[in-house]
Amino acid sequence: MAYSDKVIDHVENPRNVGTLDKNDPNVATGMVGAPACGDVMKLQIKVSDEGVIEDAKFKTYGCGSAIASSSLVTEWVKGKTLDQAAEIKNTDITAELELPPVKIHCSILAEDAIQAAIADYKNKQAK
């Protein structure tokens, strides 16, 4: 299966790979996995007191499409408010990366990772 140029670019030059300090109260983590392929994705966001995502990092074990999807969303969420980030849909990701139907689950993984990170942030703040 051929990857699109955009996927290849993200795989060769992934943006924002790494981890943020999980003990920082402003850092939240979203962990998701895709049983269909065994891919695991971790997305971390650092949220300012004003509710804006200042930084994002990811670590993904999976195929090129999963890596590209997570790399892309770290770029997309930066500078967005939590509400804006929550609006990112997997269809936006598939469209941007030109993912074929068999790789749609990779974009779902990335969307769910954003949602999980936001939920973790709200959970952390509530404490």
Binding site: T29, M31, V32, G33, A34, P35, A36, C37, G38, V40, K42, K59, Y61, I104, H105, I108, L109, D112, A116
Partner: protein, 174 residues
Amino acid sequence: MRYFELFNLPVSYDVDLTLLNQRYLELQRAVHPDKFAGKSEREKLVAVQKTSEINDALAVLKHPAKRAEYMLSEQGVDIRAEQQTLQDPVFLMQQMELREALEDIQHSSDPEDEIDAFEAQIKQLDTQYSAQLAEQLVSQDTAVLEVAADNIRKLKFIYKLREELSRIEDSLFD
């Protein structure tokens, strides 16, 4: 369940793989194209269909995750094409750590010992999530079947680790 009937095996997650293979070979011989050389087109077609059904059934029954998913779907819970993600932070964190450990093995000075240790870890996890499956998969209780579904989802991550490990072994020792 049709696939088990086909091989005349009891419906159970604990399949006797030797017997499965033996039955497969017997069935394959019975529908081999050579036997149908002088037969009608219709009989040939039936034999071809039978061959493909036997092959499909074998592929499902010999693979533990596929076998479990098949049994679960026959029980009315079909997770074979689901796209939903797993969101169990503790399990996923462990998976992340195991993936990291796998990466380290590739750059280890003494990978053989580490591979053995990793294999033992996978085996332990495999047992943890599959120990109850045989029982759960024949349950009539939807709640139990849901637990089985969750165990199967987790097993798929564990089998993925096993695949990755053997890929690493191949690259290191070839």
